[in-house]
Amino acid sequence: MASRKGLGGEGSAAAAAAPHVLAVDDSSVDRAVIAGILRRSQFRVTAVDSGKRALELLGSEPNVSMIITDYCMPEMTGYELLKKVKESSRLKEIPVVIMSSENVPTRINRCLEEGAEDFLLKPVHPADVSRLCSRVLR
């Protein structure tokens, strides 16, 4: 069943069964849309507004199955977040997907080279996300 709109772990065994995806975007509108798309695909979603908050959550929450992050964010870009995740021995196995409204090949390549699983152009479509998730989360 689709999980409730919780912005924090539910903690129940049933909720823990659904893969937990961490969505990172400084835009409240985009956060709401990506969270809606992910919940539709039966994922448990936590949506945060910055790389800093994402790292805080990753520090305390052991079971994140995938990170999907916007590229253009103030203070810490999605690329910088990706780098930090891949540099961490504890976190580096977590697949990271980057989203961006701008189609910049050098940017895309840089992210893929740094270990991003995929790069999605905004506006993100449910079909793109479900295709991606079934591949990444198997």
Partner: protein, 151 residues
């Protein structure tokens, strides 16, 4: 209360918004995310959009005044607004945002100012139209929500 008639009116209103270019396919993608678990999803996202876009417009207005010819700053704010428009399918508004960014790229102050007025106008019009649309949907009752039958 003739709910089916209200629903028909809402559908007709929506079609007109598409025909006139106010909305594009992305709006349907947002409405399609509505279901029993999130029955008011579309309206919630649109409400968020107008709250956020009002803030961004205000930021741009201030920046145009306080930071004359700071095209990078103006562009950065408008990029955020354009992104939000894109995410909910606000097509005409998005076009005006793109025009503004082009004028920034050209260093054309007058172009930016005129374009910004258009952005604000489109914002106001869209807000009015979508408020009317969602009000109709609410009046049409829970069955009037944009869900597909038999889900």
């Amino acid at each position: 209360m003739d709910y089916s008639n209200l629903r028909r009116q809402a559908a007709s209103m929506k079609k007109s918004l598409f025909d006139q270019g106010y909305l594009d396919e992305q709006f349907c993608q947002v409405e399609d995310l509505q279901d029993e678990a999130s029955p008011n999803f579309a309206e919630e996202v649109i409400t968020l959009f107008f709250k956020d876009s009002a803030r961004l417009i205000s930021n741009i207005e201030q920046a145009l005044e306080k930071y004359p010819k700071d095209f990078n700053k103006w562009d950065a704010y408008m990029q955020q607004l354009k992104g939000s428009c894109s995410s909910i399918g606000a097509s005409r508004m998005k076009s005006e945002c793109m025009s503004f960014r082009e004028f920034c790229g050209q260093g054309n102050v007058e172009g930016c100012m005129k374009s910004f007025q258009k952005v604000k106008r489109e914002h106001g019009v869209l807000r009015q139209k979508l408020e009317a649309y969602f009000q109709l949907l609410r009046q049409a009752g829970p069955a009037g929500a944009a869900t597909r039958p038999g889900m």
